[in-house]
């Protein structure tokens, strides 16, 4: 995944769900800090894990449905957003939180 893909996903979430600010966690979040990271496992996947405001589970589901795996967005662009919550992610994802949860991404970015 490239930084432009992450920017695209952020823009689409803001546009389609009218949420100006949310958190990105997991491997894609490194792109917010490093525009051109070295090739490796941290940037290997094509999904962007998104925590909606207030940890809203229904909104997380909607994000996954509209922009998630196997959606029209995924089929067209080859990358996708995955709505998650702080309580529903796996231990592996939580490990990544430790690295990136402090980085909040907004449409002003």
């Amino acid at each position: 995944m490239h930084r432009s893909h992450l920017q695209h996903v952020i823009f689409e979430i803001g546009r389609r769900f009218s949420i100006p600010e949310f958190h990105i966690i997991g491997s894609a979040a490194i792109l917010a800090a490093l525009p051109d990271p070295p090739e490796g496992a941290l940037t290997a996947t094509r999904d962007v894990d998104v925590i909606p405001p207030n940890d809203d589970e229904r909104l997380a589901d909607r994000i996954s449905f509209v922009l998630g795996e196997a959606s029209d967005f995924d089929v067209e662009h080859g990358y996708y957003a995955q709505g998650v919550t702080r309580t529903s992610t796996s231990p592996a994802a939580r490990r990544n939180w430790d690295l990136y949860v402090a980085r909040s991404c907004s449409l002003d970015w």
């Binding site: 893909h5 998630g68 995924d74 796996s90």
Partner: protein, 167 residues
């Protein structure tokens, strides 16, 4: 050391890749506990994000969340559906190869996963189908960079999303 009822339920769920229904959980617990008690425990675990609920009413199944957060469970189901289509029509592999080419261009960082899928696509079909549907953390990671989801119809996808919801 004696585990709490919640921990006992989680241990049961972690041993069952396909999850368990509430009656199945209750039958396996020793000493026996009442249905309201099991429901209370399940609701408590769910509120803590420690289990995932699949399906509704009598078909509801519970999965331990350390293995199956909702997106992971959805991905497994999507790939089970894709595998079923591929088993019925192996010629779909050509379409998958085209999708893999697109993913290689979009995400060159995923090369290690793309090469694994490419090797499986060129090999025997049973091995490919097995990897697509395997219940393991390794397979869950591989599926994140999978080319197979283009085989899912929007109707099947909607069904899977309705079945597995975080909320």
């Amino acid at each position: 050391m004696r585990h709490s009822l919640g921990e006992q339920v989680l241990q049961l769920l972690f041993t069952e890749p396909l999850g368990l229904s509430e009656p199945e959980i209750r039958r396996r617990l020793r000493p026996r506990v009442s249905q309201p008690t099991v429901w209370r425990v399940l609701n408590g675990l769910r509120s803590e994000g420690r289990l995932t609920v699949e399906g509704r009413a009598r078909s509801t199944r519970y999965h331990g969340s350390a293995r199956t957060d909702p997106p992971t469970l959805r991905s497994r189901h999507l790939h089970q559906r894709a595998a079923a289509r591929l088993a019925g029509d192996p010629s779909l592999r050509d379409r998958i190869r085209a999708r893999l080419l697109q993913l290689r261009q979009v995400n060159p960082h995923g090369r290690v996963y793309h090469e694994r899928w490419a090797a499986l696509l060129d090999g025997p079909l049973p091995a490919l189908l097995r990897t697509m549907t395997e219940v393991s953390e390794q397979a869950d990671v591989l599926r994140k960079e999978s080319p197979f989801t283009v085989l899912i119809s929007s109707r099947d996808r909607r069904r899977i999303f309705e079945s597995v919801q975080a909320a």
